[in-house]
């Protein structure tokens, strides 16, 4: 998964990849204060490409503990459960489902937005590939707006950045690849070597995406995220994170 963190105050985008194993569940947002958790489970491509097995999000779950409602989005459909009842919907039709404070809006074959109590939103985008492709598999993207309201306890690979860190980038210089500048980033007391790169935002165009320039932090975001990425691996799709 390729992460892009937009920092509104610094007016910059910082990106990093998390290179973990298929089957691992990464915590993206963990807010013990509001009772909201967003986790994503990794899947792999069908076979290695150039010696490497790629990983993607194959399932993303939004669990709202106060209502006991969970919405799990898979590449094959969307499942909603409140503990006692479970319902599933396919990607094949545009639909809106509301239960208590949770609203699910499905846009046919495109994306689903989960809104909790009108002030917290998570959008999951469906990426469909050719079924018979020898390597590629369907996968999911996730988009979480900066305007979401969390409690001060929020954490997670994405949630931690709701409290925007101070970031400064200097010493921009040509990099090893002349097309990609390098620079020095100071963040959270760490000094990191970063590379200017391009990532994709697929919200407007799920196939081609639109380019987002960002400062790429290497080694699975080391120094930019709190702790090590492995500390964000949780046992189940409903698990909260124990803060590192």
């Amino acid at each position: 998964p390729h992460f892009i963190i937009h920092l509104p105050t610094s007016n910059m985008d910082v990106c990093f990849n998390i290179d973990s194993k298929p089957g691992d569940i990464l915590n993206l947002v963990s807010d013990a204060g509001t009772g909201l958790v967003v986790n994503g489970r990794l899947i792999s491509s069908k076979q290695p490409h150039k010696g490497k097995l790629s990983t993607y999000f194959g399932a993303i779950s939004v669990y709202y503990e106060p209502d006991g409602i969970s919405v799990t989005v898979h590449t094959g459909g969307i499942a909603m459960s409140d503990g006692a009842n479970s319902h599933s919907f396919t990607w094949g039709a545009t639909a809106e489902v509301t239960q208590d404070g949770v609203r699910i809006s499905i846009v046919k074959n495109s994306h689903v937005t989960v809104t909790v109590n009108n002030h917290t939103q998570v959008m999951v985008l469906l990426h469909r590939v050719w079924k018979k492709h020898p390597v590629n598999v369907d996968f999911l993207g996730i988009y979480i707006p900066s305007s979401n309201q969390y409690s001060p306890l929020v954490h997670g690979l994405i949630g931690q950045f709701s409290r925007e860190p101070e970031v400064s980038v200097h010493d921009v210089r040509p990099g090893v690849d002349p097309m990609k500048n390098e620079a020095t980033m100071e963040v959270k007391g760490n000094r990191l070597q970063v590379t200017r790169g391009l990532q994709k935002d697929y919200r407007s165009d799920a196939k081609r995406g639109s380019a987002v320039s960002c400062w790429f932090v290497h080694n699975s975001g080391k120094g930019f995220i709190d702790g090590h990425y492995s500390q964000y691996i949780v046992p189940s799709l409903h698990s909260f994170l124990h803060a590192p």
Binding site: A84, H87, A93
Partner: protein, 656 residues
């Protein structure tokens, strides 16, 4: 048909009999759950005398006959559907000699029999062709198409073809063995993603009851069951020929909790098989209840008794106690339906007022009765009014009428008026199975308050689009006309309430795509959407007419039904089929029948078969090829076969 030499011998032997059926072919074309069936037969009077030859076809009661033609020795008789009075007047002007037609409804298996009879001289060739149309309703997860095959004798060219085309794809198709073990291997199914072809074409030898027999073993029901692919819970919207049809059958939803009051007739007439079968069915039905459900039982004769005064949860203890209670009931006495239903409604109201009923649960009264009220309020219209007055919008009434002594129309009216359905249960050895099957259809409500809507000015003449409940395994269908528009996309919006959640779903369809596809399909029914819309509209109008509160309203509905039926050529209770010769000098009339008065025409015992679907002998049912020798009138002995007086013995048909 090309026959083997053995079959040739058999055919000669058959031809030696007085009537020869050269050909009997049935073809059904099903497109999007709508079926058009054609039954064709070719018969010869191979005897040496003039005689009456009949053509009888059993069709499902829910079907509408849409045409009939006959060719008698080169003279073609064409059918057309007209308003009853118009048809009768025309018929009176030119009654066909030696020919008759009619539609007879039997008190069994929801069937009608279309009968035609012609009196013809020896050597005559007659070809019959009957058309009817019907919509298949999804029950317990599949559609069932049935054809009643009774050729009556060995036929050299016997063939049944069923073509199915479902635009979204066929999930599965199979042919349960309802015709008999002898034919199990002779039914062939070929299917692709969206088409299926079922063919049954036994040879003469294969038709025989035994190797050296000369009679046919084909006498029963030919059944096909199938279901379609569903890639979305929002349903399937199809547009064709200026009409749309929306099918809605979501799955993968948790069932809603149920509150059920079982109201069981235990009057004296229930004694015996009926009570035994009811008890057996109730054991299984009660076992199906879960802890989230609430229920009670009211049994009634001239008195009304409650197993529990209040609704109780469907726990194993309560269920076990209820089962014991039911087993201990001894039917006797009269029938006080009014009081029983009032008590049932009271029970639900009390539970609702006390907050015991989950607002998102489904509340039902299931009434099982075998007869008319004899105690308390006995006037059916008053009972109907009483029930309507006390019922709440969120309660539904389902009525099951056991046997033929019950006024089924009454049960149907009170069910329809209270958001339920009625079903006739045949009082035979598998009544328990019938009861269980009915309950299975309503045991898993998934959605309440379903509405299917369309953007303003995009459609018109929409059939019922609001439904009280949706049950798992069923399907809701809405049809209408598509209004001209710049857009080539039609959109529908479906809203509904499930357990704890509200759903809105959007479905789209290209308005030109399906017609292009249908044009490529050789065996599809290209007019299906138009006819299905008319079929649904007429069916709904007939139900509305039965419940119309005033004569004026009833008359208006009547006019609408007649206009639609004539336009779409459907034989309905208000229209009739007029069959006339090319020169309009001879006419036959086939009228849609009334149900026989209950209490008569018991229908006799059913045939065998585990499905209980074997055709039932009615009071009088001659074999399809009626053979009646009649003496030629002396005055015409030398004249030849121009005009023959009616034989002395005739089968009476409607309108005689």
């Amino acid at each position: 048909a090309i026959l083997t030499s053995e079959e040739q011998e058999d055919f000669e032997a058959i031809r030696g009999e007085d009537i020869t059926v050269k050909r009997y072919q049935v073809e059904s074309r099903i497109t999007s759950r709508f079926a058009h069936t054609t039954v064709r037969s070719s018969v010869v009077n191979s005897g040496s005398k003039a005689q009456s030859i009949g053509f009888n076809v059993q069709i499902p009661k829910r079907a509408f006959i849409s045409n009939f033609t006959m060719n008698v020795n080169g003279i073609t008789f064409m059918g057309s559907v007209k308003e009853k009075t118009v048809a009768r007047n025309l018929y009176a002007q030119a009654r066909a000699r030696g020919k008759a037609a009619g539609i007879v409804r039997a008190n069994s298996q929801d069937l009608e029999t279309f009968k035609t009879e012609v009196h013809v001289p020896p050597g005559s060739n007659i070809e019959f062709e009957l058309h009817y149309q019907e919509m298949m309703h999804r029950k317990l997860g599949f559609y069932e198409h049935t054809l009643f095959l009774q050729p009556g004798r060995l036929v050299p060219n016997f063939q049944v073809d069923v073509y199915i085309y479902e635009p979204k794809g066929i999930a599965n198709v199979h042919t349960p063995n309802t015709l008999g073990d002898q034919f199990a291997e002779l039914i062939h199914v070929t299917s692709t993603k969206d088409k299926a072809h079922v063919v049954f074409k036994p040879t003469l030898q294969q038709q025989k009851k035994c190797e050296n027999c000369t009679n046919t073993a084909i006498d029963g029901v030919f059944t096909i069951k199938y279901d379609v692919n569903r890639d979305s819970n929002a349903g399937e919207l199809q547009v064709s020929d200026g009409h749309f049809v929306q099918f809605f059958a979501p799955s993968n939803l948790s069932p809603l909790p149920k509150n059920i009051v079982f109201v069981i007739d235990v009057s004296g007439s229930m004694w015996g098989v009926k009570m035994k079968q009811t008890v057996e069915a109730m054991q299984a039905i009660l076992d199906d209840l879960s802890i989230d459900d609430h229920f009670s039982i009211i049994d009634f004769n001239h008195n009304v008794r409650c197993w529990s005064e209040d609704l109780v949860p469907g726990s194993s203890l309560q269920v076990a106690d209820a089962k014991k209670y039911i087993q201990s009931i001894k039917p006797n006495g009269g029938t006080n339906i009014n009081e029983a239903l009032m008590r049932a409604v009271q029970m639900l109201v009390k539970a609702s007022n006390q907050g015991l009923i989950d607002p998102r649960s489904v509340s039902m009264i299931i009434l099982v009765s075998d007869g008319d009220p004899t105690v308390g309020e006995i006037k059916l219209s008053t009972i109907q009014k009483n029930v309507k007055r006390v019922m709440r919008e969120e309660f539904s009434l389902f009525s099951l009428g056991i046997g033929f002594d019950v006024d089924y129309d009454f049960l149907e009216r009170i069910a329809m008026e209270n958001r339920g359905i009625a079903q006739r249960i045949y009082a035979n050895h598998d009544a328990a199975e019938q009861l269980r099957t009915f309950y299975s259809q309503v045991s898993a409500p998934l959605l309440r308050r379903i509405t299917i809507q369309f953007p303003e000015d995009s459609v018109s003449d929409v059939t019922q689009n609001r439904f009280d409940k949706y049950f798992s395994g069923s399907e809701l269908v809405v049809a209408g006309k598509v209004l001209p528009s710049d857009s080539d996309t039609l959109t529908s919006f479906t809203t509904a309430s499930a357990a704890l959640l509200d759903i809105t779903m959007e479905t789209e369809a290209d308005t030109t795509e399906l017609d292009q596809e249908l044009a490529k399909q050789q065996h599809s029914f290209t007019g299906f959407a138009r006819q299905m819309w008319a079929y649904l509209t007429i069916k709904q109008l007939i139900s509305e007419r039965a419940l119309a509160p005033t004569a004026v309203k009833k008359r208006k509905i009547t006019q609408r039904i007649m206009a639609l039926a004539v336009e779409h050529q459907f034989v309905t209770p208000l229209t009739a089929l007029l069959v006339e010769s090319e020169d309009a000098r001879e006419r036959l009339l086939a009228d849609s029948p009334k149900d026989p008065k209950h209490g008569c025409c018991s229908g006799g015992p059913p045939g065998g078969g585990s499905s209980g679907l074997a055709p039932v002998q009615v009071v009088y049912q001659p074999p399809p090829w009626v053979q009646m020798t009649t003496p030629a009138p002396p005055s015409q002995a030398e004249k030849g076969p121009e005009e023959w007086a009616l034989p002395q013995r005739v089968n009476l048909v409607d309108n005689d």
